[in-house]
Amino acid sequence: MKPPPFHYAAPSSVAEAVELLVAHAAAEPRVLAGGQSLIPLMNFRLAQPGHLIDLRNVAELDGIRVDGGVLVIGAMTRQSVVERSPEVALTAPLLAEAVGLVAHAPIRNSGTIGGSIAHADPAAELPAVALALDAELVATGPEGTRTIPAAEFLLGPFSTALRPDEILTEIRIPRRGGGHAFVEFARTHGNFALVGVAAQVEIEAGRVARAAIALTGVAPTAIRATAAENALLGAAPGAETIAAAADAAVTGLTPAADLHASAATRVALARSYVHRALERAISRAQDRR
């Protein structure tokens, strides 16, 4: 289980990295972030990039700041840094809760937020958080920089709107009020979850004013549970509302079966976890007011 050979470069700026991606386009280049998804794939020889462009020296991609109510996280910021960041805890507690559920601490010590979102594993937590919080993903390519709404970013399993010569540079997360929750069911601690649910719920005058729910593990990408959100909007947040939303969230889902769970089991897990997420998010929203 040794990785295949590749060309390697470690540029120190985004511009340089993009240039390298363009120059080596024929060699199927890949960006290397923390390597915590890419290197295992290479060890299994399931990924064989001809050229790796390591972003570890690109200082501009590392860091967390709050910019006019928007949390801005550099793509190369390590997950463990996100986990411990007071800015994140304050502005995007949903992200803070979710990132602690990504793998194990030693993997988060290397893995980056950008790598996780760019990798777009349908079981991953962070793409779902980006989706639930309407994050914007900033990408830089040879034509310049563009901003992609999370809803348009995730295209399929391990597939995103990033072009082969683009680099994800920043994740911009607008601040949301109310209560949050990220809950998931993993068969063993730290392993990829079978199903995960991100929820952010705002309550005004005893009614749900805004609800965002995203699910992992039930579709080719993380998805928003729009029907469940609609079921919540304007409703009084009680047990019945939550149950109706949980039912709505899974209506029409056709998850793929795999070794660990049949489609029916995934649907059952999703319903149960939407329930749990909403209970927690709503109770936090109520506490917060």
Partner: protein, 169 residues
Amino acid sequence: MTGQKRHITLTVNGRPVSADVEPRRLLVDLLREDLGLHGTHIGCEHGVCGTCTVLRDGASIRSCITFAVQADGAEISTVEGLAQGATLHPLQEEFWEKQGLQCGYCTPGMLMRACEIIERNPDPTPEQVREEIASNLCRCTGYQFITEAVVDAAKRMRADSDSTTGAQT
């Protein structure tokens, strides 16, 4: 061409090291084969088991899913750096005392992981230790005596540092 080697310099257990490595060389192979530090083991080579755990700038990482070139400029600590001559590290003492090992294969990774756990939380509860060491698999012990060892090592290390601070004042 792809085999073109890169020059890297890093610190391993406090000693400066430089090496010419192929970019694909895994950090664990640099440590084990090029530097002869056999204490860091290989269990799965896909990041799950944690037998290859080392510290990079004080933070535990999987050396089997880290390229050696990614460690350029870093400070790496391995199990070989724990004992000071004849004196075992408190974690090693407690693992021995509590029989926190059977085959010993996961042990170096567990010890390095435990270093970080105690560094971040000098007074962990058994429940916290369990959750934190869940990053590392052990196929032999069932974790119970490892948990006891880490809790008691933390206690010992607190006592040690109290006595050093005490001596200074």
